[in-house]
């Protein structure tokens, strides 16, 4: 057991994903590496289309058939990349689970919520119908659904968005997975519900000693919920490190831009939000060098020549930028903002 707890639960090494899009093949993810021990939490942050979800889907083995995965993904030392779908089915929902962005559509409208929560238990744990039902009630109770014993036979449309997200969390946690992937779990919810759901996820992760990968475009969500974070842009990790450290000393111009662009409470009326100029490049035609070079305020010719290597700027803190000397001098970390 001692060895088990020190060995990384999941190890991703030089992951690359090539997707076939309508605009031709696109390298949606390249050179993504990280490892996660049991009980650790990791945040993936970035704009839409930066490769966060594709990374998550490649961990779940749910990429489209046309996608080409390179590099390696190991769960407890077992290689997952290229695993047959039938073998992957035994892992999904059992050892790796996922919570989705849209609770309104993540539940099948034709089945009762009780059946949907009990399903993974019956398949993976071979519970009897009665056992699975009891367990489903207990799970729904744990995720804070009011009066689960009475409402277990209700259909998804009879619940609110927040309640449905609680139900999908119960589904994802049914088999006590080792790794939970939460892909923008609160984006579609009211702000008042967001905090409750995130607290619930955080409690459950701690209570069950799970590892979690939390995907969000919201720096605030990342700051409060994960130990380590990775900032992605154009399919590459541009900055990674312990959450505190990254927020204290942001090294990549993109991370800094994201941080400046967040809306602030108490800002003077009429203050304009800072934006990052330009738009996210299409994955099918990324610039040759640094993926952020087209939009970076600090760009020099060398940036466009080749993808910069990951440079260590602190303990466990890496930045994929060749201009950290300038960017970190003009630091805009949380403390100075």
């Amino acid at each position: 057991m001692a060895e088990r707890s020190t060995m990384p639960l999941i190890e991703v090494d030089n992951l690359g994903v090539r997707l076939n899009t309508s605009r031709g093949p696109a390298q949606a993810v390249r050179g993504v590496s990280f490892s996660l021990k049991r009980g650790e939490t990791l945040g993936l942050v970035g704009e839409s289309g930066c490769g966060k979800s594709v990374t998550a889907m490649s961990l779940m083995g749910l990429l489209p058939d046309s996608a080409r995965v390179t590099g390696s993904i190991r769960l407890d030392g077992n290689e997952l990349a290229g695993l047959a779908d039938a073998d992957y089915c035994r892992l999904r929902g059992n050892r790796i689970s996922m919570i989705f962005q849209e609770p309104m559509t993540a539940l099948n409208p034709m089945h009762t919520i009780g059946n949907q929560v009990a399903e993974p238990l019956r398949r993976h744990k071979k519970y009897s119908a009665g056992q699975a039902r009891q367990e489903a009630i207990a799970l729904l109770d744990r995720v804070g659904l009011p009066d689960p014993a009475r409402r277990i036979d209700a259909y998804p449309h009879q619940f609110s968005g927040g309640q449905r997200q609680r139900i999908t969390i119960a589904m994802a946690l049914a088999c006590e997975p080792d790794l939970l992937i939460a892909d923008e779990p609160t984006t579609a919810l009211d702000v008042t519900i967001q905090g409750q759901i995130l607290d619930l996820i955080a409690d459950l992760v701690e209570e069950r000693g799970m590892s979690m990968i939390l995907i969000s475009h919201d720096l605030g969500v990342i700051a409060e919920n994960v130990q380590r974070m990775m900032v992605m842009y154009g399919g590459t990790v541009v900055e990674s490190g312990p959450t505190d450290e990254v927020f204290r000393r942001m090294g990549h111009p993109y991370t800094q831009g994201l941080f400046r662009a967040r809306p602030k409470l108490g800002a003077r009326k009429g203050t304009r939000l800072k934006t990052i100029s330009g738009t996210v490049p299409e994955l099918a035609d990324l610039p040759a060098g640094c993926t952020f070079s087209e939009r970076c305020p600090l760009v020099i010719d060398a940036c466009r020549a080749a993808l910069p290597p990951m440079a260590d700027v602190g303990p466990g803190h890496g930045v994929r930028c060749i201009r950290t000397d300038v960017s970190m001098a003009a630091n805009v970390g949380a403390l100075s903002a």
Partner: protein
């Protein structure tokens, strides 16, 4: 969760429904469903009735009393062989419905399976199935029946098989198209993320969600099968004499069109009633099974 949210969608409200909200409550208020249902039922009852009772035997030829006008003995008169028209119509409904049910079952079984397989497998499998379906679609039922009749001879079985084959591509395309839309839904992704295989997902998630579309299409396919059966019998490729059928009755009537035009009108009206009834029924079902309304169960 705040208190007002939970109370407003509390379960008792969801279960305590007015009759108007139940399926049959809404169905009986729907005009085209009621009309279409009654007409279809009329045809079905006629067919069932003919199994146990017809006013006269539809096979009994009585040349002496041929081409009689309507009378107390023969409600709609007799045809050129002196057979009772009412009896022929009732017995004809039987052939029509038998051919329709069997042919649509063939089309449904193969069409839905192929469509679901194409949608679940994608890639080359889908491509092959869909091109094959395009190929089949290019041959109308009448043409495939003529080809089939040339090989195995005309008859009821020939027309059933030909109509069945003709139903397959339509249902394959419809199934694949609607199944693809379901596969793209997030709950399917969630089901895959919980470890379900493609077969389980197809059975538990895809099929139930496209069922209402298939049911509606079924009534339309049935109407098409009836038309095709009548056409084939009319051409002499379908139901063979003395087995009565509406298409054959039309064929028999055409030589006497100027002498006794009503002989063609009766089977024509029967075909029209059956097809109209099924189409109206389909329209009604489409409204009633609309997911936006059906959700209120």
């Amino acid at each position: 969760m705040t208190a007002p949210v939970t109370t407003s969608i509390d379960a008792p409200v969801a279960t305590r429904r007015l009759p108007a909200k139940t399926f049959w409550g809404r169905a009986l208020r729907h005009r085209s469903f009621v009309l279409g249902g009654s007409l279809s039922l009329l045809v079905l009852v006629s067919a069932l009735l003919s199994l146990v009772w017809t006013p006269w035997s539809p096979y009994e030829i009585d040349i002496a009393s041929k081409l009689r006008p309507p009378s107390a003995a023969h409600w709609l008169g007799t045809d050129s062989f002196g057979r009772d028209i009412v009896s022929l119509l009732l017995a004809g409904a039987r052939s029509t419905i038998a051919v329709g049910i069997i042919a649509v079952s063939i089309g449904l079984t193969f069409g839905v399976c192929l469509g679901l397989i194409a949608s679940a497998k994608r890639g080359w499998t889908e491509e092959i199935i869909m091109r094959f379906s395009d190929f089949t679609f290019a041959f109308p039922a009448v043409l495939s029946a003529i080809m089939l009749a040339a090989v195995v001879g005309p008859g009821m079985v020939t027309s059933i098989v030909a109509i069945g084959i003709f139903q397959i591509p339509t249902l394959t395309r419809l199934t694949r198209g609607s199944a693809n839309a379901i596969w793209a839904r997030e709950f399917v992704l969630a089901a895959r993320a919980s470890g379900k295989g493609k077969f389980r997902i197809t059975i538990e998630h895809v099929l139930p969600n496209i069922l209402s579309i298939l049911i509606v299409q079924l009534t339309i396919q049935f109407a098409l099968a009836i038309l095709a059966e009548a056409a084939l019998s009319y051409l002499g490729l379908g139901t063979q004499p003395p087995q009565p059928s509406w298409g054959r009755m039309l064929n028999d009537a055409q030589t006497l069109l100027f002498l006794s035009p009503m002989l063609a009108v009766y089977p024509g009206a029967a075909i029209a009633i059956a097809v109209l009834g099924l189409n109206l029924l389909g329209d009604g079902l489409r409204d009633l099974l609309d997911p936006r309304l059906a959700r209120e169960r």
